[in-house]
Symmetry: C2
Subunit: 403 residues, 2 copies
């Protein structure tokens, strides 16, 4: 603990600034000692405090079975997303699946087609990984204009959970992949049978047939009882309510990899099968919609992640990108997981533009919005990972910057 | 991924054993393709599946405001405990606290007594750590007779969460500890004002004033809005609903460190202030009350932890302790956190006695029940960490071993 204690002391800011007026008055001490009332009994299943109000945000819609709900990142602490607040992106609502009835079938170009029960799947060798899941369309509103007034609306289609499941490669080995097979077509048991084509090489690498999330069964909104977890790939490919894997010699060109989840480039051609999620970060405090109570020292904080591995470094600007300072990163920095970053900042009561940029272990640097648009144009809604700037106004309100 | 892939292949057992009868019939494929119904819409706050029934277990009591509820470890997957299933140990029920009204006062032998609001505390530099919390009395029923019929009842007073908060040392430095102060008396805001005496050295080391649990505010049952988190120390010292820290020159000899949470030794003297939780482990599958469907290969799995740091190794016996085999440990192994262990095992349909022992980074080896009793006697209810054995009967039922 010695090194980290020393470093925390180096980075520490004077507490006095934050606790002005915090000196204890005698009458307060008396008040503290007065209350006494027997509390709520032990219970079978806990709930959060009634004083906690954070919820996922959804656009008003006449078809709420298709669309997205956004994680309230401004309320996040630490590096995990509570399962109840994990973002959603559904195409035909959440099916109610009896795990006893559910089957995963593995068919197509395999030697031994399989139909597995959940009990059979849960009996197989399992692994556990903490991983980010991010919708390919997260921050899509940033391409054209900054329509997300707060960090939930602008960046809330990303969450981080501890996932547990069986390596897909084990099951494919058992089924026996036939020569010539090159793709796995994954299909969900939702009404639209959401499907995606996954190259066999990735399927044999690190994909999980996941049934566990944050220590319990996966939540219905995240794919109960079984889903794909594909480390580092756009959320849509992580097929929920997984019921079928078909081995084929070519991709399916499914709706969600042609009409959606492709990237129209400036030259009018579309990129397809852009699975990887690049390094990205966002400041969650202070962020749009919040108000600082006054000048003083604050701890800037936010989240960084990369589909390509560990976050190596996060840098902060408080002057609109002119200068950058390295933030403190919360250990352990797990690959393809949220990394919490923190940096003390003296808000002097003057306008300031703040932002963060992530550098991952491959050396990739999160680009500015301008640099990203220069390459990608503004035709696309997917794979936006530009630096997010917030304006802290002299009076303390935080908003999007003008572009 | 190469090394872990290779090791997983080495340890892999033939899937065929687990998926007997899993071959896909044509009629199943047809059935899978038949259903189609629009699902549940996007929602603000998710719930678990109605098919999931795991709950905390509590003894029937006329005073359910005092007592314990036990985490359903047999249903656990991965290394985290869902907050809703985190064990409880209350002495006067769960107080309902408005965080806006709540204050933490720091007084006694300090230069500047402080009264801090939650907003002030949340503005301070914070850290995040994944840590086990274990009741000092966990597995207490194992001292005399094995009264816990399943792993929830025998070992369920332990849970693991990601905690976020402010280093206590920062706040104490700001208050200015007076010369001669040697103890911090922590008091909760529950009706009984639960209090414990904590040596100043530990308070200046790694204790957290925690407000975050698993990515959101601490749950009421775990101390909302503020609690102590004391890495590696018995749960009781991690005072919940924390409202007062008083610096003193001596311990308080409070009820929970004299009448309770002391260890009566064979010679009639009691150990006091036995804060540290030693290395421990338990097999969660298969465990008491479960039934294996038949002979075949299974993945034995369980949890290991140590109050003194990382779990270095876990060894498994399937012959009542005669021989031991090293289990595979889930990475990352974080200090003082749950480490999930796994080992394939061929159940041959004959009686078997299975158990696990943890070895931590200090080299400490979890003792047998007999070795523990030889030193500690059976007068005590606290700090039991003996090896837990389960008997797998030839027919598949799992029970406690006879002692």
């Amino acid at each position: 603990m010695k090194d980290s204690a020393k470093s925390s002391r180096r980075q520490m800011f004077r507490l006095g600034a934050a606790v002005t007026g915090g000196l204890l008055a005698k009458r307060e001490l008396a008040a503290q000692e007065a209350t006494s009332k027997l509390g709520i009994p032990l219970g079978p299943y806990g709930e959060r405090s009634p004083f906690e109000k954070a919820i996922r945000w959804t656009r008003d819609s006449k078809t709420p079975e298709t669309g997205s709900s956004f994680t309230p990142l401004a309320d996040s602490v630490g590096t995990l997303t509570p399962s109840s607040l994990h973002y959603e992106r559904h195409h035909a609502g959440i099916p109610t699946i009896d795990p006893v009835q559910h089957r995963l079938i593995i068919h197509g170009m395999v030697e031994r087609p399989l139909s597995l029960t959940m009990a059979e799947i849960r009996r197989l060798p399992s692994v556990t990984r903490t991983l980010v899941l991010e919708c390919g369309g997260n921050s899509g509103s940033e391409w054209a204009a900054k329509t997300g007034a707060d960090v939930q609306r602008s960046h809330g289609l990303v969450s981080c959970s501890e996932w547990t499941g069986v390596p897909l490669s084990l099951v494919l080995q058992e089924a026996g992949v036939k020569p010539g097979a090159a793709w796995v077509i994954a299909e969900g048991a939702d009404a639209c049978r959401m499907e995606r084509s996954i190259p066999l090489a990735k399927a044999m690498d690190d994909i999980l047939l996941a049934y566990g999330q944050n220590g319990e069964a996966i939540r219905p909104a995240q794919g109960y009882p079984l889903r794909l977890i594909i480390p580092g790939w756009e959320g849509n490919t992580n097929v929920k309510w997984l019921h079928s894997l078909k081995l084929t010699d070519q991709a399916y060109m499914a709706r969600d990899e042609t009409a959606k989840y492709t990237d129209l480039m400036p030259n009018g051609k579309a990129r397809i099968f852009t699975y990887d999620m690049e390094a990205k970060s966002v400041i969650t405090f202070p962020s749009g919609g919040q108000t600082l109570p006054g000048p003083g020292v604050y701890e800037l904080t936010g989240l960084a992640w990369s589909g390509h591995g560990r976050v190596e470094r996060v840098e902060i600007t408080t002057d609109g990108g002119a200068t950058w300072t390295q933030a403190r990163l919360q250990e352990p920095r797990l690959p393809i997981a949220f990394t919490r970053f923190r940096l003390p900042w003296l808000f002097e009561g003057r306008d300031a533009v703040i932002g963060s940029r992530a550098i991952d272990e491959t050396g990739y640097v999160q680009p500015t919005r301008e640099a990203l648009i220069e390459v990608r144009g503004v035709n696309s809604g997917y794979h936006y990972n530009g630096i997010k700037l917030w304006k802290v106004h002299a009076a303390g309100m935080v908003t999007n910057v003008e572009v």
